[in-house]
Symmetry: C2
């Protein structure tokens, strides 16, 4: 995993610079900016921006705007975490080992910080002056679908449903294809769009995104059972406690592990359709499947 580790070490600081720079420069009440930055700075794997950059890297595309797209997608991810953690939603006190946004800034400001991050994302994409207008519009359209009712937000609604009744496997997959999958797909597809990928390359990447997204979620479900709160930076064992529909609950832990392997293989198979150096994406895939947090 030398490539991926070097890649992370080199790129994460640049991703975070862009993220903090974009929020730092807006003219807004300080407590609002503080609340937005608090959650952006709480860390996390930055897996979505890393995907944008890894895909651009594969296409040998060095455009600086990859960082802007990465910042935009991380803003959407972060806003979704802030809102998910609210008392009326998952009611989480701990996120990435730190008090959740509303625990520090109160529910009202946390709600507004999430709203502001959601909105800012689209401004960032619209203002990428060196990117052709049609490509910016395609990215904004894809992001609106991925992040909204037809993607992430819709998936969150389906997920809430899954707390009151046992979902079947197709329903559970549908939750994750939307709740976490749609934004991961955007991260991967946006790199292809920015790099003017050919249709078959883009299709293969979208297929890859589908499987790596599900693998990511299944591993999340498994870690909720096997991991500790300390490793995860959030309350472990919450899924069982809340009787949530998860892959292990539906398939047993062993069955979930098998499903994870299937999607891992299918993700790699999709990558093998691309006649470019996919080493980095393979390593990210392996990391996602084997991570312990």
């Amino acid at each position: 995993m030398t490539n991926f580790k070097q890649f992370i070490d080199a790129q994460v600081p640049k991703i975070e610079n862009e993220l903090y720079h974009q929020v730092g420069k807006i003219e807004a009440p300080e407590q609002l900016k503080d609340s937005m930055l608090y959650s952006l700075k709480a860390g996390g794997k930055r897996i979505r921006p890393l995907f944008v950059l890894a895909v651009c890297e594969m296409f040998n595309n060095k455009q600086q705007e990859a960082y802007t797209i990465g910042a935009a997608v991380e803003m959407i991810h972060t806003y979704s975490l802030i809102h998910d953690d609210l008392p009326s939603m998952d009611n989480d006190d701990l996120r990435r080992g730190k008090p959740t946004n509303h625990k520090v800034y109160g529910e009202a400001l946390a709600t507004l910080a999430g709203d502001a991050l959601n909105t800012l994302c689209f401004g960032l994409l619209a203002r990428m002056e060196n990117v052709p207008a049609e490509i910016r519009l395609e990215l904004i359209n894809l992001m609106s679908i991925a992040a909204g009712a037809e993607g992430m937000v819709g998936g969150q609604v389906l997920d809430m449903d899954g707390e009151s009744r046992q979902l079947n496997l197709a329903e559970l997959e549908n939750v994750h294809v939307n709740k976490t999958g749609a934004l991961l797909r955007f991260s991967i597809e946006s790199g292809a769009v920015l790099s003017n990928a050919e249709k078959d390359q883009r299709d293969a990447l979208v297929e890859y995104a589908h499987h790596v997204g599900l693998a990511f979620q299944i591993q999340d479900d498994i870690l909720d059972i096997l991991g500790t709160s300390e490793q995860l930076g959030k309350t472990a064992g919450k899924d069982i406690e809340s009787n949530k529909s998860t892959y292990p609950a539906l398939l047993t832990l062993e069955g979930a592990g098998q499903k994870l392997s299937e999607h891992y293989e299918l993700a790699l198979a999709a990558l093998s359709k691309i006649q470019l150096d996919t080493t980095l994406l393979r390593e990210i895939t392996e990391y996602i499947v084997h991570r312990n947090h």
Copy 2:
């Protein structure tokens, strides 16, 4: 006010058709769409889409996309009301004479419906195929600024500040320039952008927007004191009860009325700089100043 009344009667149904059509066609969980549509259908004056259309009308611009922009801005306005009404924010049970979104759908779904409307707005603007790409991007950029931390959301944060301490007049004006003014400005400016207005026309409209926006807010503050809950469709007298910073609280009711007249005159003066038929915009201005709900 014959022009304006006819204009409302002709345009509001078309605005609402576009609004419901845009939400109706998305593929998302039914309860989410229901929650989004519930608040969109709760009525309201549709003043923001009417502004988009009135400005286009002044430029003799008949593009259908004016309705799409109107729907987009109404979605942002509606999402802001849903979130503002939440228990952690204003904790309102009544909006436009009906139970607020979270009273019907619960806080979690109300939060998500607001999020989804925020996100959908940008997709609508990005997908206006008959509008030149550069104009779509300019509208998306303007909307992101108007609706986000630098505009509406920032204004909401300043407004919350004003509940814990007495603001001075400059601070109060700053609240409203952002909280309600920014989106009204977008409504007016977007009509100019879509119509390829000349710079001096656009500048005059932005100046008009500034004053009509403040007039709108001052009248809102006055109505909170003089109106009944039945007229307003929301709980009257809430500002006094919550010790909120308002124009009447700061200037007395008479002083607020005088301030309203000043902004009314300045709004009309800005319009008079435009060498086009501004009858409709003058009538809207008069309506805003004299409305009783």
